[in-house]
Symmetry: C2
């Protein structure tokens, strides 16, 4: 007898039902575990990666870029020229990742590395004119897609979601969460 369409079939869940199915399954096997916490973070990761996947595949890949390259150009656009070190801090990635990414964007002519005059070890990453144009074009499309997604929520719910996520992040230091660097 088939499961009705509106009742998630826990025995055979689809991608999004998986978080709920996992909660059901682990609470049977591991009664003392924190089922809500598990479901919360499974849901957070899946929401985040689903949205990123949509952005990357519908906007950035067709424009010849990637999610990572968008993030780098966006950071430089918003914050102005940055050292690789500072860019890594702002984007939450390792200096090695920035070095790699900056190399790729440089080879596409979207940014240039300029030697620092103050510190012989350091560089400054600048958007080129082409990079500037590119990020403005791509951001317009990205933001329009962000708007599409955000229609799922009321204005009040959007603010609420942001504040809940902020609240989790404010808790980072209290639990000694590992961070890059």
């Amino acid at each position: 007898m088939p499961t009705p369409d509106d009742a998630p079939n826990v025995a055979n869940p689809d991608y999004w039902q998986f978080a709920q199915a996992a909660a059901t399954r682990i609470s049977q096997e591991f009664p003392e575990c924190d089922v809500t916490a598990n479901r919360l973070f499974v849901t957070l990761f899946r929401a985040s990666s689903s949205v990123i996947y949509d952005f990357e595949s519908s906007i950035h890949r067709p424009a010849g870029g990637t999610w990572a390259s968008y993030r780098m150009l966006f950071a430089l656009w918003v914050a102005g020229p940055l050292t690789p070190h500072r860019a890594a801090e702002l984007m939450g990635m390792s200096r090695a990742a920035v070095s790699n990414l900056a190399g790729n964007l440089e080879s596409k002519g979207l940014l240039v590395k300029q030697a620092s005059e103050e510190d012989g070890r350091s560089l400054i990453l600048h958007l080129t004119d082409s990079g500037q144009t590119k990020i403005q074009e791509v951001f317009a499309r990205q933001n329009s897609r962000e708007n599409d997604w955000s229609q799922a929520l009321t204005e009040q719910e959007r603010e609420l979601l942001i504040s809940l996520l902020d609240k989790i992040m404010d808790h980072r230091t209290a639990i000694g969460a590992k961070t890059r660097k």
Copy 2:
């Protein structure tokens, strides 16, 4: 004159303040854009990657695994033996990624690939005893860390956050979001 400690310095934000700084900056340059939507998704991605980074670096790498390997073992533990195709669906990754990941886990003796009897093209992925033991150990630590993070919110807020994320995901089809496969 220095910025007081409790006032985010928008000109020189840290990682977490970046979302707010970006919102301020783009609304100057791009007045017609949807600032809240941008801040919402920047915040979502950063919260998600910060938490994953903590999980991976404090739990999974020290245990000799990765975030991806945890996800695969968890899926097999929760759902039982799966074809690679079905595993890809449940984990939201491509079949190629599953093939690669399963190869690595097989070489560590955590799972085995068994030929399907019904379909000569297909396989079935099974946890080994060693894989079963491993996921139970690692899940206990993962869930404990999930609990630490979730202390940032009240029980009511946790349910609220889950339901807001669910609401966004329910909106996927309405906006024709790209999904894997």
